[in-house]
Symmetry: D2
Subunit: 363 residues, 4 copies
Amino acid sequence: MSANKVPVAILGATGAVGARFVQLLHNHPTFQIVALTASDRSEGKRYADAAHWVVEGEMPRMVQDMTLLATDPEAVRRVAPEVRAVFSALPNEIAATAEPAFAQAGMLVFSNASYHRMAPDVPLVIPEVNADHLRLLQHQRQTRGWRGGIVCNTNCTVSGPAITLRPLYDAFGVRRVFCVSLQAISGAGYPGVPSLDITDNILPYIKNEEEKMEAEARKLLGRLDGGAIREADFGLSAHCNRVPVIDGHTVTMSVETERPITPEEAVRVLREFRCDALAGLPTAPECPIIVREEPDRPQPRRDRMAGRPVGGMSVVVGRVRREPLFGDCGIKLVTLAHNTIRGAAGGSVLNAELTWRMGLAEG
Amino acid sequence: MSANKVPVAILGATGAVGARFVQLLHNHPTFQIVALTASDRSEGKRYADAAHWVVEGEMPRMVQDMTLLATDPEAVRRVAPEVRAVFSALPNEIAATAEPAFAQAGMLVFSNASYHRMAPDVPLVIPEVNADHLRLLQHQRQTRGWRGGIVCNTNCTVSGPAITLRPLYDAFGVRRVFCVSLQAISGAGYPGVPSLDITDNILPYIKNEEEKMEAEARKLLGRLDGGAIREADFGLSAHCNRVPVIDGHTVTMSVETERPITPEEAVRVLREFRCDALAGLPTAPECPIIVREEPDRPQPRRDRMAGRPVGGMSVVVGRVRREPLFGDCGIKLVTLAHNTIRGAAGGSVLNAELTWRMGLAEG
Amino acid sequence: MSANKVPVAILGATGAVGARFVQLLHNHPTFQIVALTASDRSEGKRYADAAHWVVEGEMPRMVQDMTLLATDPEAVRRVAPEVRAVFSALPNEIAATAEPAFAQAGMLVFSNASYHRMAPDVPLVIPEVNADHLRLLQHQRQTRGWRGGIVCNTNCTVSGPAITLRPLYDAFGVRRVFCVSLQAISGAGYPGVPSLDITDNILPYIKNEEEKMEAEARKLLGRLDGGAIREADFGLSAHCNRVPVIDGHTVTMSVETERPITPEEAVRVLREFRCDALAGLPTAPECPIIVREEPDRPQPRRDRMAGRPVGGMSVVVGRVRREPLFGDCGIKLVTLAHNTIRGAAGGSVLNAELTWRMGLAEG
Amino acid sequence: MSANKVPVAILGATGAVGARFVQLLHNHPTFQIVALTASDRSEGKRYADAAHWVVEGEMPRMVQDMTLLATDPEAVRRVAPEVRAVFSALPNEIAATAEPAFAQAGMLVFSNASYHRMAPDVPLVIPEVNADHLRLLQHQRQTRGWRGGIVCNTNCTVSGPAITLRPLYDAFGVRRVFCVSLQAISGAGYPGVPSLDITDNILPYIKNEEEKMEAEARKLLGRLDGGAIREADFGLSAHCNRVPVIDGHTVTMSVETERPITPEEAVRVLREFRCDALAGLPTAPECPIIVREEPDRPQPRRDRMAGRPVGGMSVVVGRVRREPLFGDCGIKLVTLAHNTIRGAAGGSVLNAELTWRMGLAEG
């Protein structure tokens, strides 16, 4: 192990998001994977024998022979006493108690689970949207008496819309947003969606997804005010659908702004959107938002890996046009984000990189 | 041929919608197929050799050996002088001139093409929505000096939303409707969508489709006033997407009503919706709208053939719930219609049945 | 319940094959469903609440409210003492002990499970292939001291090849058969194949499937000799693949015959193949084998529902041509059978109909 | 343009294989794209406006603005007089006359079209299989009086089996091979296979494909004898199927060898297979054949990009086991090759690299 890298663990490493964490943290310049945990069923097995490697490319040799640990701070500490951060791909019901246990034990938890997202003292962060919310960590440590802490990323479906809304909100204000998602099957994990349900079919419902999108969007675009987040006061309404696509969540949006807007102005602010606080972070995309002019883009298979240096971290927006039902104050567009990179593992890794840069890693 | 049946022809019979016309008119109690036409390339061939039979079941023996005629009133008259109605599955650019030629020659054209839909004297009809618009035919005949006439069905995507809106409009008024479609590949005809474009993918754009939905919805729900249609004064905004589904267009709708509405009331008026003028017509569904209670319905593969006596003629609605962005005056729902039956061939056949019943067949 | 119908139960009724049994036995002229069983997890629930209804059309009203029983002869007898036959869609490990228990309790078990198929005293029957093997039942009852008995249908993949081989074997003899299957996802039941595994993909392996095909084919085409089956002495070798198709197993076959054969002769004997012993049975297809001449048939989506009066009971064969590697004694062809109708539930129902006709229902 | 690179053109650059040529030749160390040609319909357009970019990643900036030329040696010479090699992705009927015209004009044609493959003086080459056949070029130039020449790659489907057979043939001899293919839709080009034909379906027929496989395999494994190829004397029989997979042709093989073989021996010779003549060529894979041990590999989505340094150039073999129908002299296996890389554009690029290394580029 490189002496200079931060040793980290991945919790719940055997599933679809776990595989993405492995992929993104392998050869990472700042972090080094030193432990992997799993459910009781897989504890003690080799990672290569227990994991569902449902991402592109081969499993890195480095992790193949790692022995899966119990998802427990002591088990991790025993094997890797120096671990300072854990990336959680745990199912929600396990995350509920396991994540606080790791935080209590002094580790920073970068979580992909939804359980703690809406807790008032837990930062729910997409760095390009609300980097400053990370400062809630200090408040969280005080209140809870933790040396570590919990930082949540968002629901995978809201990540594209939230990043798209950030520059529009700042430039024009946002009043109402109608979202309809066409979500990839990898969003449901592995084994996830049975092929008998989704072949030649659409599922017009994803449990709790609409509620999450509606609530998280307001917290994400909210304002840090002392030790609390004041939610942004716009409304978002969602219809969520599952479609036969492997990766990449497409969301159509009809946005009502506070102030007049034209498609040309919208394209301009989306294109010019940058996030200086992230410049040079390994997982930060050069362009958070890529706007395409072709009438038929973004398309999930063709655009989901957009972004550099890490493919899948840029959001791709297209079909920016007037929304006739909102008069001068409306636009329609389509936004696409890779759900297990931008909307899950990649988002958490970027959160961790930023936490270190902001000097918030130490309690 | 049965002496009592009305002899009819199918124009452009070799494509996907043509096949549906054959399927629905074969063994029809009122109409009898006596001629099939095609493009120059297929003229003179056997139907079985030229047709793309992309519907379920086998091609009826009765049509297999029919010789394809030119799409020309004289060619049809020569072989079948008694033809009184033609069902048009012609591409738009051919329909532009061919359909008027058939109308001029004294035949009633029940068209699936979009070319003449928005002409002021052409009835654009979904029987459950605006049966009375058929009376425009008399005005059309006078203005144009035709003995025949043109009756259009609607764009396949708007058929589900329009039928769903009819009872809501009558009971609560409608102000604004946000629609997002997830459209089946059969909507693009054959060969249509290349598999390389739609496998593991979504196409977020269908040329002219959004414009058609927005315009046709207002004409459909409009009011016949003398010799003209006064368009309904609500706004509809659409995002249209192509998805990897064979048949069945799913549309999510967020509806703002004039007067307060609850999901329970909406379900009630949708369920109770009937259309007495159609009672007993061979292709009319017993229930125009079927409302499902399960959280994850309608689904295209499982619900597209809903309806009796002709499968695929009922619209299936589900997920009726509050639309929070419209306060007391909003609901959200999902509607599904079979695009080549309800939204194309079946709609035209029902238009023809109703035209006969209303005594409008003769000029 | 009709006084004249034979009361039957379905074991393991909530899965994919269970749903097919319900579909085929509902409104059956001879049998009447009076009980449905399930695993412990679903026992006591309404069928409509526990079943995965993954077949076309709606669940019959008749079964929706039936309460699921434990898969136990006494539980069934308690509710429906007259039950004389049970149709088993049980998983293999349950079938191992449950099916003998029902047979012991005096019921005839028509099983879709593989556990007992190769037992020497259990008839493994496709009526068109080896109806006379049913007579093994008498021997089975004697040996085991049962009043009931077990009759197995075959592995779903071997059903198409076995029916196709029957007339070829009789007319030309068969020496070697190379089979490669392209199997539908419904063959794995529900939830079965994860969509993440089969979207834009092929799985070139199905556990135990090749072994079953190779063994069962020889027993099916074997000869009943006293109380035993003498296996047919040809070799069959199989490669089994899973493909993204909902229903319908396609199998390519290269057949080496004992005596010279031409494609024309093969087509003739396949077309003329009939099975008089089955004439008039409700589920027996008019034509066991339908031979198509088009170069690109059979195709699963277009041909899987072939057959009358029950769609899906005919095997469809196409592309009959010379097999150059076998000189004068070889043909190549493609055969397709609906895996959950012909290859599963429909096969068992036909076995039951034939058992009754042959007077073997009573021990 | 680098002074040291060989200037090349791509003929028929706008389709699926054309896009692969662009992808593989962009940043190539030896070759530099200086011209792109297309059909009359696209001549004069920008490449970015006319191309169907159906491969992963973005179109290289370098080619986006190139103007498409007519597929004519003079048109190419006019713009790029130094062109010495052309890569042909032409349709067969154009290749028939266009390729000889380029060869006559002094250019080496590395062709992906089938038209000239079986001509006695045209080398049909997969470098790992029959590199020495390239020497036919000298004979071809003499006979035809050309300064340039034509080198063909093989049918995409035969490439995996041929590479797999090479080491088996050398070690054990090969008598008969039964192949069944499951071919990706990209093999049919763009627009290619209509989605209405392949969704939830298999097409059990690909025109002329079986004949090509059977003939090309024998030429590939044949022996160069003076100015002619003596075909290898084994038999290959193929069933070709189209399946809903984007890229990657899977082929099951049952191989009868001349001498006894065990699966372990087969795995060993497949794994040890190397091709020294190619060492260090930019497109040559480190391992021509990768053997996987898992029971369910190779899978097209997961294995098609195997190989280094150019993904998609290795063949992946799995499920090596006994073929019971061939006694001691038989094995069964599954082989997978990327059809538009290994089986098309990548194969031609490797042919060109080898031609240069062997000093055959100059007539």
